[in-house]
Amino acid sequence: MSETRRSPHVRSPGRSRIAAVAAVVLAAFCFDATTALAVEPGKKAPDFRAEKLEGDGTLGLSDYKGKVIYLDFWASWCAPCLKAVPAIEELRKEFPASKFQVLAVNVDKKTKKALKFLARHPVGYPSVADPKGDIPGRFGVEAMPSSYLIDQKGVVRYVHKGFRDGDLEEIRNEVKRILR
């Protein structure tokens, strides 16, 4: 059998193609902006400011500096979101307002249904309106509801998607863990 010696300066065509495919796949992952930008535990929560859903003025994450925040994305078309609302209100009342606050982001394109829902199910925490979906985009929200537990330094410590029976207990434990 004879050996074929190659010049050290000539690259193997096979390796070059794998590199090209890897580069393309890497670029393809970049196309999926949502995956790339999804805010996960350990990441700093992107700040935002938006108009309140009820009443005048704006609210943003920076208004809650030094507190643990439960940031909840919801919409009137999302049944699990609506199921979560009274549970979140219950959670809010369990902890002192000086340490724990809830802020909701409503993404309805038209706010009439959202306002109607809140009129029938009033809660003690505010919602901001984001009809264009900019804020969920910044957080990489893929499913509704999506909630983010943000600590006193603005770092996301826990992400929760959907809402099922028993979820409240899990979320409560996470809040207690951060507040300790």
């Binding site: 999302c78 049944a79 609506l82 509704m144 509801p145 099922r164």
Partner: protein
């Protein structure tokens, strides 16, 4: 040159990667399955048709178990799918309307919110007139899929149009299968389906009852292939109907007079913010047959939507009230039912005379009549008619105010004027001044004459006329038996009915005094006029002062302690003014008297205007086991399940207070409520409350009291108790909650029993 070869290679890799993400599907003449979400796969299907069938395009959705997408009317939650088909080769080609198979109902994860859509698999297809010149079909889709989370999914699919007989048999079979599930018009299938309602015109904010009526054949006949609505969830409304009406479906029953007609009965409210009247009630209705087979049909029937302020009369169809025309006719209420309501109103007005509000006025009038009976019967008759005129005139004025308020879009209930602190203050002032008159502090004498003949003077028929006004002013917060039903009927009817009922109440109210004035000879049973009449007048004056105390209490409940104190100060000032007037009268200066009277009235009006009449926040504290009325809390209690007792009351409602101090405080009733595990709720209507007003209207009432007993087995049809409660009646109602039956507003029909079979 070698490097140039990388460019197409990378381009191909980019393209393939994009394809791998499923964002754009390459053209293929056969259907490709595309997993556009971890929970859903889709296919673009094309049927290029033939001589017998129109061409069709569609998207087949395959969902993971537990996930669903939505119908064209998604319901309380959800978003309808948005599909946009494109045709290459003929950009002007447009598909027909999407064909929507019959949806199913989803219960909103226990939130009580209903949504409609599809689980497992569904094909949403559209006809296309001609695919001959079209080479490629595409679709851009936005859909929302939900389980215990919701995910919006956007995707694009493309497909080459199969030529000739290239379409697969499986694909065509899918089109045919889902086309068969698209509800057909009920009339095309030979079903006679209509709807009837309890009002002739339904305006924004109106509460009403209705029934979808299905005429089949007599189920007792062996060869009858009957169809009936499946159950109370059989109807799913289309979007315009769902947006305009808030439904509660009650049950499915047979028509009490015609077994071939079955009724899907419901209660509903018209959205108060509705801008354009609804003219059609549309949706899909599931029918079940003798063999349990289910069929969904499309219904589209007329709905008498009307603009605010339109005239509307109540209808009492036989399936609802036991009297009236057949449901199909929709004719106005029969003369019999109108007469019945008017008689109820007259009887209620008569009973009002016995209420503490009105009794002092009646007593005074009868004493005055006794003075005249012996020597001036003609004058007595004039007084009688003057009093009747005063009563009827003020009732007509009250009816006009109600009609004007309703036309302006305000919702009012019986006793609404007592929710206005200014009115309460005025009536309290009038009552105190009247009492002082009875004590003899001053006299009301519009015909100048000497004083000193106590109880023997005719003070003019004008006085009797104003006595009639006073009687009505004092009567309105008092609720008598039958009045609630009559006034509730009137308030939900048009202007003529409101006027008729109010005048009937007035006739009943004035009747005892008018009879006294017209019937000769009764005076011989009354002792001769003398000092005893002075004592009686004083006694009745104290009764009036008792009424004033009650009015001041109501005023305080609405405006707070400061407002109450201000009113008391005003009453003291008015009393001083009245004494001053009496002194001027005693001096015999008519001009001064007239000026003094005018000054008193102006001072009273000015002073009332200075009082802070702004209502303070209602007292919503829970008393004992009674919770504040909240429909959500009631629903939650019923879901536990717990039976529920709801009491609607107001501080100015004497009948309510009598019930609360009496029957509802009885130990036996309290024990029955506790042992039965009842959740008890109280709705306080002392001040305006739109939620309570709407709830009262839903049960055909315009005012309080209203008592409801809910059985968890029939959460949408509570038992309605009488206005005047008895211990026995309440105990019986509480006991029957646990029995098989339930007390219903619709007792004339029987519930259909049928056996359902899974398909």
């Amino acid at each position: 040159m070698k490097r140039m070869r990388w460019v197409p290679f990378i381009a191909v890799q980019l393209f393939l990667t994009t394809v791998a993400y499923g964002l754009v599907v390459p053209a293929s003449a056969t259907a490709q399955t595309n997993r556009v979400s971890p929970h859903m796969a889709v296919q673009l299907l094309v049927d290029n048709g033939d001589a017998q069938k129109t061409a069709r395009v569609g998207v087949l959705f395959d969902l993971e178990p537990g996930w669903h997408l939505y119908w064209r009317n998604p319901g309380d939650t959800g978003l309808a799918p948005d599909l946009e088909f494109t045709f290459e080769g003929n950009p002007a080609a447009k598909p027909g309307a999407l064909r929507w198979p019959a949806p199913v109902r989803f219960d909103g994860l226990g939130t009580g919110l209903a949504s409609y859509g599809y689980a497992n698999q569904v094909l949403l297809a559209a006809p296309v007139r001609d695919l001959a010149n079209i080479s490629m079909v595409g679709v851009e889709a936005d859909v929302l899929i939900c389980a215990d989370e919701c995910i919006p999914v956007d995707f694009e699919l493309n497909r080459a149009v199969p030529t000739g007989n290239a379409i697969s048999r499986e694909e065509r079979a899918l089109f045919d299968r889902y086309e068969a599930r698209v509800p057909k018009a009920a009339s095309a299938l030979g079903f006679d389906i209509e709807a009837s309602y309890t009002r002739s015109a339904l305006r924004p904010g109106d509460a009403f009852e209705g029934a979808v009526t299905v005429r089949s054949c007599d189920a007792n006949q062996p060869d009858c292939d009957w169809r009936r609505p499946g159950d109370s969830d059989a109807f799913i409304p289309d979007a315009p109907t769902d947006e305009a009406l808030d439904f509660v479906f009650v049950d499915v029953v047979s028509h009490p007079e015609d077994d071939s007609v079955s009724l899907l009965r419901f209660r509903a409210d018209v959205d108060p913010d509705l801008e354009a009247p609804l003219s059609r009630l549309a949706g899909v209705l599931e029918l079940v047959g003798r063999d349990g087979a289910r069929e969904v049909v499309a219904i589209d029937v007329s709905f008498p939507g009307a603009a605010p302020g339109s005239a509307s009369s109540a209808i009492a169809p036989v399936w609802n009230r036991g009297v009236g025309p057949s449901p199909e006719s929709g004719a106005p209420a029969s003369e019999a039912s109108l007469l019945y309501v008017v008689l109820l109103a007259l009887l209620g007005g008569l009973i009002l005379n016995g209420m503490p509000c009105v009794l002092p006025v009646l007593g005074i009038k009868i004493c005055s009549a006794a003075e005249l009976a012996g020597h001036d019967p003609a004058g007595l008759r004039r007084h009688g008619f003057a009093y009747l005129g005063g009563v009827l005139g003020s009732m007509a004025a009250l009816a006009t105010v109600v009609v004007l308020l309703q036309s302006a879009g305000s919702s009012v209930g019986w006793g609404f004027q007592f929710q206005e602190p200014a009115f309460v203050a005025v009536v309290a002032a009038v009552v105190v001044l009247f009492a002082l008159n009875l004590f003899g502090v001053y006299e009301i004498n519009l015909v100048p004459s000497g004083l000193g003949q106590v109880g023997a003077q005719t003070q003019g028929t004008t006085r009797s006329f104003f006595d009639g006004l006073l009687a009505v002013a004092l009567a309105t917060p008092c609720t008598a038996p039958f009045l609630g039903t009559a006034v509730g009927f009137a308030f939900s009817s048009g202007a003529p009915m409101i006027l008729a009922v109010f005048l009937a109440i007035g006739v009943g109210l004035a009747l005892p005094y008018v009879v006294v004035c017209l019937v000769p000879g009764w005076a011989r049973f009354v002792p001769r006029a003398g000092p005893w009449m002075l004592r009686l007048r004083a006694g009745l004056g104290f009764l009036l002062l008792g009424t004033a105390v009650w009015l001041v209490w109501i005023f305080g409940r609405v405006t707070g302690t400061d407002g109450q104190t201000a009113l008391l100060a005003l009453l003291v000032a008015l009393s001083f003014g009245a004494w001053l007037l009496g002194w001027l009268q005693a001096q015999g200066h008519p001009a001064s008297v007239a000026l003094g009277a005018l000054g008193l009235l102006l001072f009273g009006a000015f002073a009332i205007n200075q009082i802070d009449l702004k209502p303070v926040a209602g007292d919503n504290a829970v008393e004992g086991d009674w919770q504040v009325f909240d429909p959500t809390d009631i629903r939650n209690a019923l879901r536990e399940p717990r039976p529920v007792f709801v009491s609607f009351t107001a501080d100015w409602c004497i009948t309510c207070k009598v019930n609360e101090k009496g029957t509802l405080s009885d130990e036996r009733v309290l024990a029955a409520l506790q042992q039965g595990g009842f959740a008890t709720f109280r709705g306080d209507y002392t001040q305006r409350d739109e939620a309570i007003r709407a709830e009262l209207a839903r049960h055909g009432r315009a005012g309080v009291p209203l008592y409801l007993v809910y059985d968890p087995n029939s959460p949408d049809a509570p038992a309605v108790l009488p206005e005047l409660l008895t211990v026995g009646g309440v105990l019986e109602a509480l006991r029957t909650v646990h029995a098989a039956g339930r007390t219903s507003l619709m007792p004339a029909a029987r519930t259909i029993e049928h056996t359902s079979q899974a398909l």
